[in-house]
Symmetry: C2
Subunit: 419 residues, 2 copies
């Protein structure tokens, strides 16, 4: 049984020159996988006619679906539409409904419609326009020799809306696809190689049509077990059987099943237990609070936070004693413990978390080099502090220590969980 | 004069399935461009032997340099090393210096060296190993028919360190490259199409070897003027001449020249003027403070912040009057103005910024739908508030309103700057 395959082609020098990061393809890959389409390749090319044609010629040799993003802007460096008109032997024609959409969009924005934007309503005659309710560049759907070609703008929220509303449902209807199911198991606390050793016997015993992948990321390793079959129910059952064996092997390192970030898993726990939390941050400068509040419904447990960047703020807002700062310094166990305890008392929450460290690139000393970061957790039963040492760049030090705070929070919420 | 070209190949199902976003390629693209290498294509493929071989065969038809990332982990699903050994007709041999690096890495981590990791020191005999001081997978440098192939791990900070220390300098030495120079002009406040209309006469007058690109992104449009030549000094001069014409056309919308994010441009201004700032955030939950403190040296101007998620915190920490919250609600001009003013007074800073809104997905009302966000700026001369309406998802609402706060901050710092 041959799987329906897709290739994603992103068009624009800005991706090749590294001026922007291509986040669209990852999102499209996830959505295509979800409807049982296997992404064979993602190709990023420049905004040049011959390269676009070459990429299309190559893509159709290996893919049934070719999704293009980018090169549909109103400006001179956007060629895609004209190249596609030639590629499919047709010419551009004004598409009135698209013009109406563009006009109304400008009306709501209170900006005057420009000739450049008016030209965006001209589309290849033999394509089916894909409506773009969030932007000025309509999409284009072409069919040729049983293959589907779709061109969409590169603006992420426009592309996503068009995919969700139109392209994905139409692809599902057009192709009869096998079922690809992923089971994601989220672990934290074990490095990939040790995790792999513990799982080897289990992995070796997997049936041939199930495939395991290790996906290490900030502060953890994601396990992805993948299977493909026409019989969805049977596949689902096979995968679940294998997943159910994991708690017996690496139970205490599993924090969630499925695409649940650590901050969401923690949020669910806090909600279920009716616990509230407050944060006191120095070196992480608000990123811990951001992670906790990035989850929908977080106002149920996150009450507030103090970003105590300067020592005056640590003393004034978090009642850190001047002696503590003088004797131990701002980056110390004594200071971070007091920060976690006092923010909890200040906001009358069940839990307080705190960070104080040297994110860098400046501020390091021989005794406390850049990347020296203290984190702490406090509830009414205990206060736990932990020293971290990362020698990464400023942003990574902030991100890694934030993940470490979340993991410390998780471990403290589940006393059975090991380091 | 033919430019030296490169193709980036990322290996691993996790990118195709959208389980991770490929940020490596953008970084590599930036660095390669900087040394005058033109990236022709970025290709993401699965961890399968035949696809890796096919990608290599295609890449060498269009590129002089082929950089691969991924597929070097210790686990079963990592094939790259074995495929490369076959591709270059050689076999794997223990590389003692790499084994020593791996062993010392595990020693510092206090973890025992596993057989899986020991195997990572086995490398193709005819490659030049590329040292990896941050991880267990060494890189591999191959030369064939005047082309260079380099394989590196997919872990971003390992790859970046190897590129910076070894690969980029060696590529620069190996190839005599023309000079590609980019001039980036950062604008905010004008949509792409209107910007393009204002710039059209200037753009049309550009010499043929200079190319302009519009790069819209969160809260602004980046302009990139690119030129290529063997004569670096002359090219630099030509580009600068054109850039110098821009202030006369779109001056008030330019906030920086070069790859400077808005928060850094603001930071430089605050530093130069010796101004300090504090933040009071509700819906953005710490993201404004994170952006401001993500810049090295921000402790010179960022003093501290309050994350006032709950109304009790708004009253207790920011002295928001209960009547204000009752009459106008937390999401209101009155509340956000008071937040900005009071956080400034509380922390005795020159400037206070504040946000209060409904990030969603819940909490919306007919009168105040999700995406209704008030932001404010306050200094001792004035307090300015602004109402934003985004109907995006929670994270985008947080990011867009944070960018809006930064832009309001910038406009308020430069009274001459228009909306």
């Amino acid at each position: 049984m041959k799987a329906v395959t897709a290739e994603i082609i992103t068009i624009g020098d800005e991706i090749l020159y590294g001026q922007i990061v291509d986040t669209n393809s990852a999102w499209m890959g996830t959505e295509l996988t979800r409807i049982g389409v296997k992404v064979k390749q993602i190709t990023s090319i420049s905004d040049s006619a011959e390269h676009i044609v070459l990429a299309l010629d190559n893509a159709k040799t290996r893919a049934d679906i070719i999704l293009m993003t980018g090169g549909l802007g109103p400006t001179k460096d956007d060629l895609t539409k004209h190249v596609l008109a030639d590629y499919f032997h047709t010419s551009l024609k004004l598409h009135e409904p698209s013009l109406a959409d563009i006009a109304s969009l400008f009306k709501t924005r209170g900006i005057e419609l420009t000739e450049l934007n008016r030209q965006q309503a001209f589309l290849p005659e033999n394509c089916t326009p894909v409506r773009n309710v969030l932007g000025t560049a309509p999409g284009m759907w072409f069919e040729q020799d049983g293959k589907v070609y779709v061109s969409m703008p590169g603006v992420p929220f426009e592309m996503k809306r068009m995919m969700t509303d139109t392209v994905l449902p139409q692809l599902k209807a057009y192709f009869k696809t096998p079922h690809i199911i992923h089971k994601v198991i989220q672990t934290v606390g074990l490095p990939e190689s040790i995790l792999a050793e513990r799982l080897e016997p289990w992995e070796d015993s997997l049936p041939g049509h199930l495939k395991l992948a290790y996906l290490p990321h900030l502060g953890g390793v994601r396990l992805r077990l993948t299977g493909q079959s026409m019989n969805e129910a049977k596949l689902e059952q096979e995968l679940q059987q294998e997943v159910d064996k994991l708690p017996g092997i690496i139970g205490k390192y599993i924090f969630a099943y499925g695409e649940v970030p650590l901050e969401e898993a923690i949020g669910q726990q806090l909600k279920e237990r009716g616990l509230t939390i407050a944060s006191a941050e120095s070196c992480t400068g608000g990123f811990v609070a951001h992670k906790l509040t990035s989850i929908a419904g977080s106002s149920a447990y996150f009450i507030g936070g103090i970003i105590a960047y300067h020592n005056e703020v640590k003393m004034q807002e978090l009642s850190i004693k001047p002696e503590t700062l003088q004797q131990h310094g701002a980056v110390s166990e004594a200071t971070v413990r007091a920060m976690a305890e006092n923010v909890r008392l200040k906001f009358d929450t069940d839990i307080g978390v705190a960070t104080s460290g040297i994110a860098g690139p400046d501020g390091g000393t021989p005794g406390k080099p850049v990347g020296t970061i203290w984190i702490a957790y406090s509830d009414k039963y205990k206060t736990v502090a932990k020293l971290l040492n990362f020698n990464k760049n400023r942003l990574l030090n902030i991100e890694y220590s934030t993940m470490a705070v979340l993991n410390l929070l998780r471990q403290s919420l589940e006393p059975t969980v090991e380091e």
